[in-house]
Amino acid sequence: MWSFSKIADLVHQSLNHTFSPTLATIIEMVIVGVCVIGLFAVLGLVLVIMERKVSAWIQIRLGPNRVGPKGMFQSLADTVKLLVKEGMTPSGADKFLFNLAPYIALIVAMLLMAPLAFAKDFQMWDLNIGVLYVSAISSVSVISILMAGWSSNNKYSLMGAMRSGAQIVSYELSAGFSVLSVVVLAGSLNLNTIIQSQADGWWIFKGHIPVMISFVIFIIAVTAETNRAPFDLAEAESELTAGFHTEYSGMKFALFFLAEYVNVFIVCAIGATLFLGGWMPFHIGHWDGFNHVMDYIPSSIWFFGKTFFLIFLIMWFRWTFPRLRIDQLLNLEWKYLLPISLFNILLVTAMAILGWYF
């Protein structure tokens, strides 16, 4: 059967056949890099049009419907517009940091793609500490936001950046704890092993209520970490005009914009991998017929389907809820989510030791 892993193997073999092993590895790396950049661009376009269509659907309007069939090329046209726009640097800005910040946001988002398993046996880097790697790299993104806010020489930007710093650092804790609950149950930090451990059922079903609690906390925490509404205080357009990227224009703004959407994709992919079984098909106990039908759906479709379901959930939040205030935001984390997740991790650990899961 056709699959991503077969194509990857084929490319690997043919490269090793024609070139020396060193050259083959270098070429493979270049191919992977191009693929990541390509995926990055495609995801940006797809998620932007998806967000606009979802918001239009929620807001009883049509959304983009002029460029291409049903307005599907609208984000392409927007990209062209952003590319040809002048990228201005405000006077008094720290030019080096100002220009560096969007690239850091971009690189962080790209690095996070490495350990994701997009399909069965299709992974860029099968890292044995995948979960740790993801938590470590994703916390670097706050640096780009702080850098952008500080170097813009704009008070709105600075306030947005400070809010964002406080927010991301706080919510990293809950996100970490909820991820940890799956790690405890699966007994591994390797994303691939975690997926394999869900062959007989996803963790959200196997792990009873504690894992469901972790899942809910995870979704809340990553919504906050990616600065999405109702936690979009870093941008808060009705208070801070555009927050940390107020002064950015043209492609530099587009990079922040892209990074935001790709970050949403990545956190949803992580959520899908840890809690919803990644590319594992949906199986019900001993219903062999049903399970076989599910197996026929390609693993990449399972992965992207689950991921986009979570993305839809996060978009739904954005277009439904009002924004929180900064002190309420931090209260929610430190007074509610963190104690709950601390207690929850105890429960999960007890469950794992006593074997109280399916």
């Binding site: 509404a229 009705s238 929180l324 205030r325 309420q328």
Partner: protein, 371 residues
């Protein structure tokens, strides 16, 4: 005059919100002194949209100047026209036909609902929720369509003239208003589900922007802003004009004085307006829509004052006449100006995010403040 850039000597941050800023819904300029996220002082700077309407009115005749007043509080254009027409009628000492009175009240209440719908959507947008805005506009458009049929305009109606109305009602009016009432009753529950009952929304509104009854009176607040603090100030009840004294409706009062109280007052007012419309829509009397007046209006020498309840509060029109065809002096007492003056008092000590919510609940319309 405060320094508009940089920081104060104590190290507080000064930021300029406006004149171009998404939260001010117009060209209002707020100079805010911040200590971190906490507000220490808010200083509104006005004048960016000053069009000297009062001065313009002095060179226009009593028939002409009413058209200018539609541009003051553009969300309650009917009610502005109404206030001016009432004042001129007081000077002329004419009694307008009952049909005109009823239609005026109907139009006023429709305008009030339309204005509150827009406020509801815009305030939710201030709080970061975009969707309510579109839901509110769906209903508001229905009212605008009704207005368009009868008045020929959607925003600056110029329908009420001294002596009655510009034209008679459109034949479809009653049918379409009834359709609107059905639609409204269906959709008002959506409002409650989407915004009023939302836990984030309630946390953002309750206990925020407190204004005591004493302060509301001393700042001269009126309308829903004062009624949210428990000050009874509905002109329709206290100094009834047209047919308001024969109608059954309640003055919506809340005593908490916070943003949520002001919100609930406006939601309650929309329901009361529907109640008024329901009482009148089937009982529009036959007859003329205009009283017989002279072509050129001349007010006798003297001073005339009229007041009405707009969607934002008390609008007073004060005309000084020297006996000619144009007023010697006109003064408008606009509700937005007084309500805005309470902002500094309300905002001190709260967070920057709450300032936007407070401005939302004050329902500021900048052309009404600046004129």
């Amino acid at each position: 005059m405060v320094e508009e850039i940089g920081t104060t000597e104590e190290g507080d941050l000064i930021i300029n919100v406006g004149p171009q800023h998404p939260a001010t819904h117009g060209v209002l300029h707020l100079v805010i002194t911040l200590n971190g996220e906490t507000i220490k002082k808010v200083e509104p700077h006005l004048g960016y949209i000053h069009r000297s309407i009062e001065k313009m009115c002095e060179s226009l005749t009593y028939r002409q100047f009413i058209y200018v007043t539609s541009r003051m509080d553009y969300l309650s254009a009917h009610i502005n026209n109404h206030a001016c027409a009432l004042c001129v009628e007081k000077g002329l000492d004419v009694e307008i036909p009952r049909r005109a009175q009823v239609i005026r009240v109907l139009m006023d209440e429709l305008t009030r609902i339309a204005s509150h719908e827009l406020w509801w959507g815009a305030m939710a947008m201030d709080l970061g929720a975009f969707t309510p805005f579109f839901h509110a506009f769906r209903e508001r458009e229905t009212i605008n369509d009704i207005m368009e049929e009868t008045c020929g305009a959607r925003l600056t109606m110029n329908y009420m003239v001294p002596g009655g109305l510009m034209a008679d009602l459109h034949p479809n009016f009653q049918k379409r208003v009834k359709e609107f009432i059905t639609l409204y009753k269906l959709k008002i529950n959506e409002y409650a589900e989407l915004v009023t009952g939302n836990i984030i929304f309630q946390n953002r509104m309750k206990g925020v922007g407190y204004l005591s009854a004493e302060d509301a009176i001393s700042y001269g607040c009126s309308g829903p802003t004062a009624r949210g603090s428990g000050v009874s100030c509905d002109i329709r009840k206290l100094y009834p004009y047209e047919v308001y004294d024969k109608l059954e409706f309640d003055e919506v009062l809340e005593t908490e004085g916070d943003s949520f109280a002001r919100y609930m007052v406006r939601i309650g007012e929309m329901n009361q307006s529907i109640k008024i419309i329901e009482q009148l829509i089937d009982n529009i009397p036959d007859g003329d829509f205009q009283a017989k007046t002279k072509v050129v209006l001349k007010l006798p020498k003297g001073e005339f004052y009229s007041r009405v309840e707009t969607a934002r509060g008390e609008l007073g029109v004060y005309i000084v006449s020297e006996g000619g065809t144009t007023p010697y002096r006109i003064k408008f007492r606009s509700p937005g100006f007084s309500n805005l003056s309470a902002l500094d008092h309300m905002a001190r000590g709260s967070k920057l995010g709450d300032l936007v919510a407070m401005m939302g609940t004050l329902d500021l319309v900048i052309p009404d403040i600046d004129r």
